[in-house]
Amino acid sequence: MRLKLAVLAAVALFVVMVAGGAFYTVRETEVVILTQFGRPVGEPVTEPGLHWKTPFVQEVHRLEKRVLEFDGAATEMPTKDKTYISVDTFSRWRIGDPAAWFVALRDERSAQSRLEDIIGSEVRAAVASHELIEIVRSDKNRVLPPDVQKQAQTVTVLPVARRGRLEIEKDVLAAAAPKLKPLGIDLLDVRIKRVNYNADVLPRIYQRMTSERAQIAQRFRSEGEGEAARILGKKELELRRIESEAYMKVQQTRGEADAEATRIYAAAYDQSPAARELYAFLKTLETWRAVLAGKNLVLSTDSELFELLKRSGK
């Protein structure tokens, strides 16, 4: 009977405890803060699993343990060199100090608005103290690979940045994080998501791009003309060289041929006085043959042809 009573009492107690909320679970993604009559008590519960508390009087408040998002609105702001750009940043943060958070903010919406204020103003300050190129370029150490200009066949250069976006982002993080710390917020990272030219600036940018391209196009055409002229010049040169070389070789060969022939003839015709005589004689006869045909000829009886006649007539 006593045993039965004890079991009954235990069951009743269990039922009362469950009904009064003595047990609660903490999920992997949560941190729990217990409050007693609205006042936080004890350390925040970070260990996931089943936990228990004093029923009826303690209340469970669940906070996010995970990394949370913050996406600022795109904002127009001037750079140091007075170019208006639209900058869109995002950030990641988490509740680093649940107790401080619980006291200072309690809900995420007020956290978002604080983030907006603090990060927004830090970004604005950072942008205003840097020139546009510092915000556009990310890594100041990156230089144009040597073959890029050749490949692209343009003359565009990569402007040099002294710091670059990565460093500016670090600045913003370093400036904003301490201001959020008292609110229980751990600011993990701030990144610039988008940078775009203001709509008023765009026409000027487009104009510059157009003129830059026109200049490149001009250069291509001029290069083409230059190269064509060079090729045509080479053609002219080659042509004259080939023809004159041929002329030279021809003249040389013919001259050599004539010299050789002359030598051979001279050797034959000049070998003795008799040869000289015979040559002169034969050549004379040959010349007659060639010259006299079809002509009128006056022959003197004194000529050799008639010599015999005269002699025989005497």
């Binding site: 990394v67 940078v195 775009n196 490149i216 291509f220 006056v298 008639f306």
Partner: protein, 329 residues
């Protein structure tokens, strides 16, 4: 349930007892539902992450599994084997299921400023997979959106360090590789639990307003090639021909040399042969040759006047005299 027509005449106490007989079915039914709800299936492309009282307990491979009922065990399915993608700067043609896949403002995502302060329109895709379900579920609240934000930040960083020519024309592969490497680094830093497989650039264009001037550059490039080709054509039309002709002339000269020398040798040989005979009887031979020639020459003459050696002043009478002075000139 008994129908009203059957129960109509029975007394109330009898009716209650009749119902109470079936009361045991209620807990039995609840138990059955509880037991049935303890079975769950993990699809082939996923793992099941089991939470016990909200705490990470274990991971289950695809198949049929059992868990504790009444909310003690919970299962989250994470599609670890599915290739997921994020698309930036455009809306895909086909419908999508992953809410992170498409951005809210593709027009803004597309616009960027290159390192030489030019503007460009870039569309790209990030392919990724969940590779650590525990981190993916528990470390970052919006891992997909976070990866999107990182994707955008990276695709501003990388073109921000490159010229417009690198972005639009020559640097595509290099930009894809650099962006993928950077995004992997960031995903690791953020402990998103995802593996970035690749970053692909889609359409990369200059802004509409300057498109024409970019096309003009391409055209100019073509023009340049064309001019060079035309000039080379001209060159190739003329120079090989001239080379051939030059060789022809040289060969001809060479032929002339052969001919000239051979003829000279022939002539010389003939002469030397005649000379040998001539030397034996020069007088006679000379006469013979003279007369032989005359015999040939005289018939071919138009006319011949034979004049005695004592006659002088003959020339003016000859018909050829009209011509002669001009000839003499």
């Amino acid at each position: 349930m008994p129908r009203p027509t059957i129960s109509f005449g029975e007394p109330p106490a009898e009716r209650l007892r009749h119902y109470l007989r079936f009361l045991w079915l209620l807990p039995a039914l609840l138990l059955l539902i509880g037991l049935l709800s303890t079975f769950y299936q993990v699809p082939a492309e996923a793992v099941g992450v089991v939470l016990r009282f909200g705490r990470y307990h274990t991971e289950q491979d695809p198949g049929l599994h059992w868990k504790l009922p009444f909310g003690i065990d919970e299962v989250e399915l994470v599609p670890v084997k599915r290739q997921l993608k994020l698309e930036f700067g455009f809306r895909p043609d086909e419908p999508w299921t992953n809410p992170d896949q498409v951005g809210r403002q593709p027009e803004l995502e597309r616009n960027m400023v290159t390192g030489d302060l030019n503007a460009a329109l870039v569309e790209w895709v990030v392919q990724y997979r969940v590779d650590d379900p525990r981190l993916f579920l528990f470390h970052v609240r919006e891992p997909g959106q976070t990866l999107r934000d990182l994707g955008e930040a990276v695709m501003r960083e990388v073109p921000g360090d490159r010229t417009v020519d690198e972005v639009i024309t020559i640097g595509r592969a290099e930009i894809e590789a650099a962006a993928a490497a950077r995004l992997r680094e960031m995903a690791r830093l953020y402990q998103l639990g995802v593996a970035v497989n690749q970053v692909q650039l889609k359409d990369v264009d200059p802004p509409q307003a300057v498109q024409a001037s970019f096309n003009e550059v391409n055209k100019a490039q073509q023009d340049r090639e064309n001019m060079i080709n035309v000039a080379n054509g001209e060159y190739n039309k003329v120079v090989p021909k001239a080379t051939g002709e030059a060789e022809q002339k040289i060969s001809q000269a060479e032929g002339y040399r052969q001919q000239r020398v051979n003829e000279a040798r022939g002539d010389a040989a003939a002469f030397t042969a005649v000379l040998a005979e001539y030397v034996k009887a020069p007088e006679v031979t000379r006469k013979r040759l003279y007369l032989e020639t005359m015999k040939e020459v005289l018939p071919a003459l138009q006319g011949a006047w034979i004049v005695d050696e004592r006659v002088t002043q003959l020339l003016p009478l000859l018909p050829g005299a009209q011509v002669a002075p001009e000839v003499r000139k």
